[in-house]
Symmetry: C2
């Protein structure tokens, strides 16, 4: 391979600028100036530094590029067109409903690993992508481009910390320091030293260059490649709108397409004049074959859960046991935790498979972001923390949904049933959070057998899954031979004369059973459903129960919004005619003992009994 000439790369950068203007002007919106600042670096990466097959963007040996500053999507698309993956005319479909060239990159495109556009996330995913190379022994390198405005996001510093901690010398970040944010100058503008000191303090190899000096860019990328033991960041001083005098370095041009006609045409003509004649076309370096494919999982080898009915086991502990068990039959599984591995029980996996366990300390955003990157490269990451702290990473979870990545989240210590630690540690909105991710399965088992079975199903299901686990020990309800499914439920109590249906999940299943016992004494038969799959919910079983009984009571250790009650109500909404009473936590709770709190906040057996009596004695309204 011969190093492409500097002039040839400059010409490509100019072409990328032209294409970025053309496509955004045609779309009538977009961020051309954010593309123009980045164009030289992108040209150097795609046409000199990176080794990849431009016809096979999913090739596992390809070097990876993540555009963390996702609003510069047009320059990414232009680079792939230039590389030959698709025709340049496709670029003119930018942002159209019939094109996958969306406003910000999504994995609908084969060369996008994770969706970007929410700043500070791509670099977290890049940590996972780089970490994956180590797991499979691959020599692919990972490049990620950020903006300087983006660097204000705390998640960038979580990623910086994790990249250095993991000594990811196969990772190179480039910050396009164009000094202008959306609404004004960035905090440090072109004060490169401020940024450099920060990255250095976070133990990165920090290089400051002129981001429009092609030789300097190539040189820095080479230094990055040769730097061992730590990741490199290249802080590239650039000008927003570079190449067109009327907009270059000017405020007021963020996220604004040039107008069709004179404005765009003039800019393009100005750029075309910058083309250097007589250069040759650079050839793209092919990827190096390296790394190994992961073994196919073999769930036939997984032992059945080893519990007897009535054993007292917390679902969080059963989850940890199950995670270690599936780790043995499924090499794809990796686990991540945020310094609570002894509470979530992910430490059981960590002890068994140290090389596949990532300690993220108390940094939930990079934990979920890393998971996204790992999943994009074929691992099946299980990330765990207290369920309440997944709220810290909700923007990442939202973007994981958009990225359609195969990640598994577990939140332990859900609800008021944690007791004395108080409201800051009680997840009461996690079901709402996760149900609002389309296609994310939401599981909430009440005991150990179902937990173990569902963990294995989580791993085998392709797509996002969330499992909610509980702190208190609960009795084993099911035989080890029982089967479960995503989208299923279990009727744990029924008779031919059920007057009411009680739907619980997790700890409230046991309150429901206690209530059913008490109601039986009063001559009221209650059907009890363990809705362990909150999303998708088992609509058929619920509808049958609703039709067979006079009222439905839902009871959940969660706020009243967005959780089990809403899921049940939607499943039954087309029926009409069935009154639904929702028992849920309806105010900010406080510290206390678990049983005291279930009672105080209205989700104990006593409250269920009362609700049943009220619903079955008073005539249906309307």
């Amino acid at each position: 391979m011969t190093t492409p000439s500097i002039d040839a790369l400059r010409n490509i950068a100019t072409q990328l600028r032209i294409d970025s203007i053309k496509s955004t002007t045609e779309a009538g919106s977009g961020h051309p100036t954010s593309c123009m600042s980045a164009a030289d670096v992108v040209a150097a990466l795609f046409f000199s530094e990176m080794r990849y097959d431009p016809r096979d963007p999913k090739n596992p040996d390809n070097d990876r590029f993540v555009l963390s500053k996702g609003h510069a999507a047009p320059v990414l698309y232009a680079a792939w067109a230039e590389a030959g993956l698709f025709g340049r005319d496709e670029l003119l479909k930018l942002r159209r409903i019939d094109s996958d060239l969306e406003g910000h990159p999504t994995p609908r495109l084969p060369f996008v690993d994770v969706a970007t556009g929410s700043l500070g996330q791509g670099i977290c995913a890049a940590i996972g992508i780089a970490a994956n190379a180590r797991l499979v022994g691959s020599s692919y390198r990972t490049y990620v481009m950020l903006g300087d405005g983006e660097s204000a996001e705390g998640s960038v510093w979580e990623a910086a910390d994790m990249g250095a901690y993991q000594k990811l010398d196969n990772l190179c970040a480039i910050v396009d320091v164009n000094a202008l944010g959306q609404s004004g100058p960035t905090q440090f503008a072109h004060n490169m030293d401020e940024l450099s000191r920060r990255w250095s303090a976070f133990d990165w190899n920090s290089l400051v260059i002129d981001g429009h000096d092609m030789a300097a860019i190539l040189d820095a990328l080479k230094t990055a490649r040769e730097t061992k033991g730590r990741p490199t960041v290249i802080l590239a001083r650039t000008l927003k709108g570079k190449g067109v005098a009327s907009i270059e370095g000017k405020e007021g041009w963020h996220g604004k397409a040039l107008k069709k006609g004179e404005e765009a045409d003039g800019a393009i003509a100005e750029l075309q004049k910058q083309m250097i004649p007589g250069t040759s076309t650079p050839s793209i370096q092919k990827p190096e074959k390296s790394g190994r494919a992961r073994k196919a999982p073999d769930y036939a080898k997984l032992a059945a859960p080893a519990y007897k009915k009535g054993d007292m086991v917390a679902t969080r502990e059963a989850w940890g046991t199950a995670l270690a068990a599936i780790g043995a039959v499924d090499e794809r599984i990796v686990a991540l935790d945020a310094d609570v591995k002894n509470s979530t029980f992910s430490e059981r996996f960590g002890k068994a498979f140290a090389g596949r366990f990532f300690e993220n300390f108390i940094a939930e955003q990079v934990m979920v972001g890393t998971s996204m990157g790992l999943a994009a490269r074929g691992a099946v990451p299980f990330a765990s923390t207290f369920a309440c702290f997944l709220s810290r990473a909700y923007d990442f979870i939202r973007m994981a949904g958009i990225s359609m990545v195969n990640i598994k989240l577990t939140g332990s210590h859900a609800g008021i049933s944690i007791g004395e630690d108080g409201p800051s540690q009680m997840a009461l909105e996690d079901l709402a959070m996760l149900r609002a991710v389309p296609d994310c399965a939401v599981l909430y088992p009440c005991e150990a057998v179902s937990t173990e079975r569902l963990v294995a199903l989580m791993a085998q299901h392709t797509g996002m899954v969330y499992m909610r686990t509980s702190r208190p020990k609960t009795p084993v309800l099911y035989e080890a031979s029982e089967t479960f499914r995503i989208g299923g439920s279990k009727v744990v109590r029924q008779s031919g004369k059920d007057a009411v249906t009680i739907v619980g999940a997790g700890v409230t299943v046991f309150e429901a059973l206690k209530a059913a016992d008490q109601l039986q004494k009063d001559g009221i038969a209650a059907r009890v459903i363990d809705a362990y799959s909150v999303q998708p919910i088992d609509a058929e079983t619920l509808r049958n129960a609703a039709k067979a009984t006079r009222a439905v009571i839902t009871v959940e250790d969660h706020y009243a919004s967005g959780g089990l009650g809403d899921a049940v109500a939607e499943a039954l909404s087309s029926l009409g005619g069935v009154p639904i009473v929702r028992l849920a936590v309806r105010e900010i709770p406080r510290s206390g003992q678990p049983e005291e709190l279930l009672e105080r906040y209205g989700i104990s057996a006593r409250h269920i009994v009362e609700a049943v009596k009220q619903a079955t004695t008073k005539p249906a309204a309307v």
Copy 2:
């Protein structure tokens, strides 16, 4: 005032350790070792450095202390007992349901400004508290104590950045570097230089001390007080469990109370031996009277909205206009934005009231955290960004709910109606997020008059309020004289023979009206409700409409979970008998033009018409 003797402060620290052990042992849970590492610093702060009235913790002139490492709550409670706010016997009620001494601090206690316990948040609130001192010209100082494990949270670095950017020399952070996290050693253990380099790179005055050397602590606090132009961080090297040899600096003691009997008694005896005889009791410094009270707001002076029916105005723009208008009659109002002020229109406030506007660059967590701190000190902060990016701060929003602070959040660019920018920029889970905060009002106006009126109500309402605004321009529907209320709705179309109720909010109100027009041609009368208050929802109006019609159709620019449909369904759940059809976005959307997207994802007028026809022609189920 005389400086208290070092020995007297040492004795207080010992007493705080004893009290922390006693209270957690009595509770049977808690984090005594995390208190013991912090005790010397806490003693120095409360009994030498800070100026406050121990009998009046809400005194506006008091220096403020925020325990960002909230799990060390017992040492905070012990300090206030030692200061005389309540009797030491109260400490033994720690974590009980009948005591406000909760597992982690909440503002149920008069000396707690914001709830802590989710790490990395207290320091963000402290930014707001310190910034407030400047706004009112007060000389109170703000102290915040973090853990070293906590420093992994990206939000800590957002706060570090903001503290330096605002040159908050009235702010002093102390990091209790006890080198042990929950599940193992912290990332840097006692490598003080790693931490110090980071804080220095973020432009803080960074001091490293032995956190058990009382003279060094006092000296560092004095240096902090005298340092001008930037905040100071004191990195205090400490030992977890300090003072009791069997647990001091040992792993496995996080969040574990000492057992009643020998274990606790032995530890207490060991500490009691460390008491130095013959010391005098330190006197607490009284606060200095300074600063001014904010003027009472005068909403009578607020002009009516200046729109005519049919004017095309985006609600985001009306929001910006209203914010600037209320700023003029309500001095408590401050505004914060995360580099999108020209899109949210908060820049209108920023231009009018530069001194009350905070640019947070692209750092949503510290923006919301700062708001919490400002609100805790009497400001009424309006924080705004794209609605999707509020998900970045969801853990802060959750904790703001627990803190019961008076903050106002606005998310612009909600839903698929933003169009071409694509799913990463579309908030489709924000209603679910905010509805899951108990007592948070959720407003979603569809046009300019209601937006302006509701912004004024937001400011006058005490408590959290979220407003969702939209990108597209919509026609003004209401006369300027129309009144609105939190918890209200408007019936915008009705007749004596309505067959169906269509409930919309925001952009879908106009789809509903279009649908009603089309249905009228087919002889079907539809009642249309503008449910501008999604929480609390106007249950009465909805129930009346449901009773008067044969079906209810909800239509929302939001995912199907946790939004308008769920709110309406719960309001109607006790009725039974009314089929509810929910039109909402049910998959990850893509880029496209707004109208195309409303059509593709099932929330356009055409889909409403179809749903109405289906609901009104087929017999009710069951």
